[in-house]
């Protein structure tokens, strides 16, 4: 503490850290991802992979990455969250090798979707979720739109309890909101209500607020705190989504810049493998994309 030398030394350390940082960023940048596994013959993968994007997908991808690293000890996979927009931006810039998104790249402004390759790693189903005390379990799409656009303001109009309807929304930029508006409300703009980004928070609010309605992914409908509504008599189940009967669902995408190769390809193949699709994906409340009997394109048209 007392002598200049130590003080100077600390300053030097700070400088060196800054300098090393300037040089050392190769450590983490995507350019480092040229892994040494191009000689596909032996299966020894190594190198590092940086993934970023959708916070909803982060748990799934992180869990898959963990297993993948256990199988390939010399591989390092980093899964960052940050949001779908961040993931798409970073993968287009090339600062990460894989960008995760809840929406098609075509749906976001300023993303060169033609330069990205789409890998649909999972499907998420979602439905309108209500406070259990409302006392209805089915709603027609027509009424759903009326509820969310504020034309119906009390549950008794739909044969439920005499409670005022409270809407729980997601922010404009949220992928969940985009999906729900497109396939649940046929594009109608929801009226204003409480807005929260997080599934957990939304669930909590619906559970605690009398007469509340919001929208949640199936994985959050696993208890009696909130009730997932059937739409036009179709129950919100994985099977109904797979067969195309239930309309509100979206892909979870992993994008690579250009064709996936090397380590990125190996990881995406792993994500699509039965090991992940039949185990991790359903465990986390997603639907295996390999089991879908229907397909959609970026415009939302069924194929």
């Amino acid at each position: 503490m007392k002598n200049l030398k130590k003080f100077g030394l600390l300053m030097m350390v700070a400088m060196i850290v800054a300098f090393a940082a300037a040089c050392g960023n190769g450590n983490n940048s995507a350019s480092d991802g040229d892994n040494k596994s191009s000689d596909g013959g032996n299966k020894e993968l190594s190198g590092s992979l940086v993934i970023s994007g959708s916070s909803a997908m982060q748990p799934l991808v992180a869990a898959a990455a963990e297993q993948f690293m256990n199988d390939n000890p010399s591989v390092d996979v980093q899964v960052n969250a940050g949001g779908s927009g961040t993931g798409l931006s970073q993968v287009s810039e090339g600062s990460v090798q894989i960008g995760n998104s809840d929406v098609f790249a075509e749906e976001k402004d300023g993303i060169p979707a033609d330069k990205l390759e789409d890998h649909k790693v999972a499907v998420v189903g979602m439905t309108a979720a209500i406070n259990p005390k409302v006392g209805i379990d089915n709603i027609s799409k027509e009424d759903l739109i009326k509820v969310f656009t504020g034309k119906i303001t009390n549950w008794k109009e739909l044969g439920g309890a005499d409670q005022k309807i409270t809407l729980v929304n997601r922010p404009d930029s949220s992928g969940t909101r985009a999906t729900f508006v497109k396939f649940g409300l046929d594009g109608a703009t929801p009226a204003e209500g409480i807005t929260e980004d997080a599934n957990n928070t939304v669930k909590k609010i619906i559970n605690e607020t009398p007469g509340a309605i919001g929208y949640l992914a199936f994985s959050y409908l696993n208890d009696d705190k909130v009730k997932g509504l059937s739409i036009d008599g179709v129950k919100p189940t994985d099977e109904n989504v797979q067969s195309g009967k239930f309309p509100i669902w979206a892909y979870e995408h992993s994008y690579t810049k250009g064709k996936a190769d090397g380590l990125a390809k190996a990881f995406i193949d792993y994500m699509m493998s039965d090991k992940v699709q039949n185990d991790l994906v359903p465990n986390q409340g997603y639907i295996a994309s390999s089991k879908m009997k229907v397909e959609r394109d970026a415009k939302g048209n069924m194929k």
Binding site: K2, T86, S89, D109, S173, T189, E192, G193, I194, T195
Partner: protein, 305 residues
């Protein structure tokens, strides 16, 4: 501790090398001080250029941005009006200052005028601990305790201006109390003595002599508290409801600049208009910080004592 060097050696040190040390030392600390300027300038430049892009590149009308309450970035005809959020930020800031200022200044007077020993022993550590509670923890408690409480006992949804105000008021209370305490305790003693000598009671002394004398500093305390409230993000986001409509009552949901930024910045793509308008909101926050500092400057120039 350094080893002691024999005096002969120390005296042998040429004055030149000593002057060298003098120069290096001075240079070092000057550099450290200049880093402050560098940091401030670079923050201003970075956020300034990024925050103006929405207006320069994307052609968003700055007047509309500041005065329209129509925020619909994803519609066919997008609207980029941030008035609702600007209003929300000012509303919670002013309301929380209204709640926290009397409490904070009252606490300061209690500590300096009424029970100094008790105040120092109990209130001072309490205030310091309140400063240390992280904002996420305030948000968490607001969400789990305050929101249901307001919904059951006061009305509304529980999320809204009122809840945000209460959470922020507790958060800025320590800031106001600390600075107000400093202000009160640096008042010259003869003010009090003169007032008591004239036969004034303690309350009259506080009201007619001490508060007017310390007023500029007390206002500074309130303004600094407001600056903190204006920029608080996470705790407010958890409890205010974040709706895009102008609130019609104190129980109504609202949104602030900070909450809209944290909600949307990750989901929007770099360079898109929506993302750039979020950066413009960040720029507003920065400009407001400067504004608060200027206000404090003005207040301290009016200090009479």
């Amino acid at each position: 501790m350094e080893k002691t060097v024999p005096a002969s050696k120390r005296l042998m040190k040429s004055s030149k090398s000593r002057m060298n040390g003098e120069f290096t030392g001075r240079l070092l600390v000057t550099l450290c001080a200049l880093i402050m300027i560098a940091a401030t300038v670079s923050i201003t430049i970075f956020l300034g250029t990024k925050g103006l892009q929405a207006f320069i590149k994307n052609g968003v009308n700055p007047i509309e941005f500041l005065t329209s309450a129509n925020w619909n970035p994803l519609k066919e005809k997008p609207g980029y009006g941030a008035l609702t959020f600007i209003f929300g930020s000012f509303a919670v800031t002013l309301l929380s200052a209204l709640v926290a200022a009397p409490l904070g200044i009252g606490g300061a007077i209690f500590m300096t005028e009424i029970a100094p020993s008790w105040g120092r022993k109990v209130l001072q550590p309490v205030i310091e601990l309140l400063v240390g509670i992280p904002s996420v923890v305030y948000g968490f408690i607001g969400l789990t305790v305050l929101v249901p409480f307001v919904r059951h006992h006061i009305g509304g949804l529980g999320f809204g201006l009122l809840t945000g105000t209460v959470v922020l008021a507790v958060m800025i209370l320590p800031t106001i109390t600390t600075i107000a305490t400093d202000a009160m305790s640096t008042l010259p003693k003869n003010l009090r003595e003169g007032s008591y000598a004239l036969g004034a009671t303690r309350w009259q002394t506080i009201r007619k002599v001490l508060i007017p004398a310390a007023l500029p500093s007390l206002l500074t305390a309130i303004v600094l508290g407001m600056a903190r409230a204006f920029g608080e993000a996470l705790a407010v986001q958890m409890v205010i409801g974040n709706s895009r409509d102008l609130p019609s009552s104190i129980l109504d949901t609202a949104a602030t600049l900070t909450t809209i930024i944290t909600l949307n910045i990750g989901n929007t793509t770099y360079g898109s208009v929506e993302n750039n308008t979020l950066w413009s909101m960040g720029l507003i926050l920065l400009i407001m910080s400067f504004g608060f500092i200027l206000l404090i400057r003005y207040l301290s120039s009016r200090r009479k004592l």
